[in-house]
Symmetry: C2
Subunit: 407 residues, 2 copies
């Protein structure tokens, strides 16, 4: 399986590798701050020799030294380059939102209403994926040869930017399609702070709207006339299904296995953003090496994103997340914070095996997880930092300027 071939194994051996500046804050603010910082300007304090040990699996020690050198070398410009990544592409995101609404228009009125449900103003979500992809496109679309003001080059750049925007739109359509089907599978009542589509229009229309968005995404993909990119993103849909099925059919042994959890997380969350990042690189005509780095960046960002999301499911509120708190555990889904808590408090294993039908068990688990997140969170932070650092280091290899948008 993909994960066992290429993914890092996350264990407690790296427990003392990092310090986390927010580890002593109350859990909810800590997690939210981490999430915010992930997208803005956090730099964890690095023990480079330990990181080298982790990075060895992917690349050479020399590479990491080079990366650290680059961070140091550019340190003076860090402050001036720090920006809110969302504001950098805000105008473009607004156009993208308009285009998405026009792309999902269907001939049959009910299907049109269902398909546009999550593209309407106010329920478009964070638009995290389009933001990352447009920024990735900016980073990769600046080869030296395009520095002149030549009109032809300008035209090519505009065409390439349009194709990159299509990737961002396709990614968002695949993402929303998966949300629609997931909500049917989970009998979800809410999504993005509003009623879920299945609860408003019924399961049948939600399933059909999901299929419709997938087919529109595929038609748009075909219009890009790059079969490697079609193949990449078609594979993502398979991964989304695989991840969802893994979650649905988990055995009691798999449920307590971190490796299984991370593999499922790759399929369910990280595959879409990682393969889309790679698609951006391929369309930009970058080398296979850069495309692979773009993939690695997306994969690690996706994993980090999900880990934070899992924390927020324990600590967040309905307002901050747009969904009910503890929704995972109430559906019997065991996520990273609980898996780490079990490592520290093995007695929780028995509680998990009882299946959370008793509200008292849910309360007990929350108590332990929150305790761990507040006062004992290093194992979790370890894996988060690893994923985050890999993102940053990968980015450094792609383009320093882009790296500092995120760092």
């Amino acid at each position: 399986m993909l994960f066992s071939r290429g993914f890092p194994r996350i264990s407690r051996t790296g427990l003392s590798l990092y310090q986390w500046r927010y580890s002593c804050l109350p859990a909810s603010s800590s997690a939210f701050a981490a999430y915010h910082q992930l997208l803005c300007n956090t730099k964890p304090i690095i023990n480079s020799s330990a990181l080298n040990k982790y990075v060895t699996g992917h690349t050479s020690c020399g590479f990491f030294h080079e990366a650290r050198h680059l961070i140091h070398h550019n340190a003076t410009s860090t402050v001036e380059d720090q920006s809110d990544p969302f504001s950098l592409v805000a105008d473009e995101l607004s156009l993208l939102a308009d285009r998405l609404r026009s792309m999902v228009v269907a001939e049959v009125p009910k299907l049109a209403s269902a398909a546009e449900y999550f593209f309407k103003v106010g329920v478009e979500g964070k638009r995290f994926r389009p933001t990352v992809l447009l920024l990735m496109a900016t980073a990769l679309n600046m080869p030296e040869s395009m520095s002149s003001a030549d009109r032809l080059v300008d035209n090519l750049e505009t065409q390439l930017r349009t194709r990159h925007q299509r990737i961002a739109e396709i990614t968002e359509m695949i993402h929303v399609a998966s949300l629609l089907h997931d909500d049917v599978l989970d009998d979800a009542d809410t999504r993005r702070g509003v009623s879920s589509l299945n609860s408003v229009m019924g399961n049948k229309l939600a399933v059909l709207a999901g299929d419709f968005l997938l087919s529109r995404a595929c038609v748009t993909l075909a219009s890009l006339k790059n079969t490697e990119v079609v193949s990449l993103l078609a594979k993502v849909v398979e991964h989304l299904v695989t991840g969802e099925t893994m979650q649905m059919t988990t055995t009691s042994e798999q449920r307590l296995n971190m490796q299984y959890y991370m593999e499922k997380t790759y399929y369910k969350t990280a595959s879409l953003i990682s393969n889309s990042c790679k698609a951006i690189a391929l369309l930009a005509g970058q080398t296979a090496e850069v495309a692979s780095l773009a993939f690695e960046y997306g994969k690690n960002l996706g994993l980090a994103y999900q880990l934070i999301d899992d924390v927020l499911d324990f600590t967040g509120t309905s307002t901050s997340l747009g969904k009910g708190s503890l929704s995972d555990i109430r559906h019997g889904i065991v996520t990273a914070p609980l898996l780490f808590a079990i490592e520290e408090f093995p007695q929780l294993r028995e509680v998990v095996q009882r299946g959370f039908n008793d509200p008292a068990d849910v309360d007990l688990v929350c108590l332990y997880v929150n305790f761990m997140l507040n006062f004992y969170c290093l194992p979790f932070v370890n894996s988060l930092c690893y994923a985050f650092l890999t993102c940053c280091v990968t980015l450094l290899r792609i383009r320093i300027k882009f790296c500092y948008i995120f760092l």
Copy 2:
């Protein structure tokens, strides 16, 4: 909408245009014979001037005269060329079935079981679409320049045949994916004479298995490296969804409208085979005109297929169809035989509007429809003949030899 732009309007004006040799047989045998003959060797008795009137919308009168001349010219070889089309590609279909089983293997055991459910030996269905597509491939893959035994040409032919087989496999995967989702939407208990997947493994796995098959179809499509073909077949998925939504959201007025019914039928049934036929032509490097004719052939064959299927829903048995008789009407779906019956017996309109909740209404409608099919079936046969004849005439324009496989 597509239908209003290009489709024939079917009305009672052509009621006396054709004679149908089976019109005096009992309904079930008549319908089954028509279905059988559609694929084998029936030639309706033609009133050419009337047909010209119909065909004018698509092509010139001269074209039809040419077609009739070709039928006459080749009449002497008809008997020796008559073959069971299924047996002509039986070996290839068997290999295709094996390949389909290997293509839908998934990493997660439950997903693998769900995805392969309708590809297992014994529940593969009639394999009508792969048969038609492989025969179409044979017909289109015989340009004069390939008559030599040249090794290079042989290689090219083999490669092209492999690509055509992929189209047949993709089409079957899209078809089965739509069946899986349709069965969830309809809460169906049986399919192909066995329990439906949703009734065996639940709605969730059936939805996911459908998504999985769509993504595998898309990955295979991408491997053909022809973006026009990707676009064609991605559009089909959208059509399937559109047709299903039209059926689900029909107003009482639309329910009694033949134009609406035929449009829905194109989306639900004919789009897949017509666009797949076109894909076969495009991959064979045929001209846009031939590709368009291949599309027309598939469209009319698909419509004829559905019209016969609608008759069988009234007259067939569970054994012959692999699904419960009267399943359409029991779900409140009004199909062509009933629409024709309403034209003859307007009092049925009121029964339809009551919604078939009363079993006595179902019995009453069946009585009228069967009466019409047995003794008064010309309007229905008229449209069937039209669709069938358009198939044949289109085929004649493509290749005489292939035409006689079906005629």
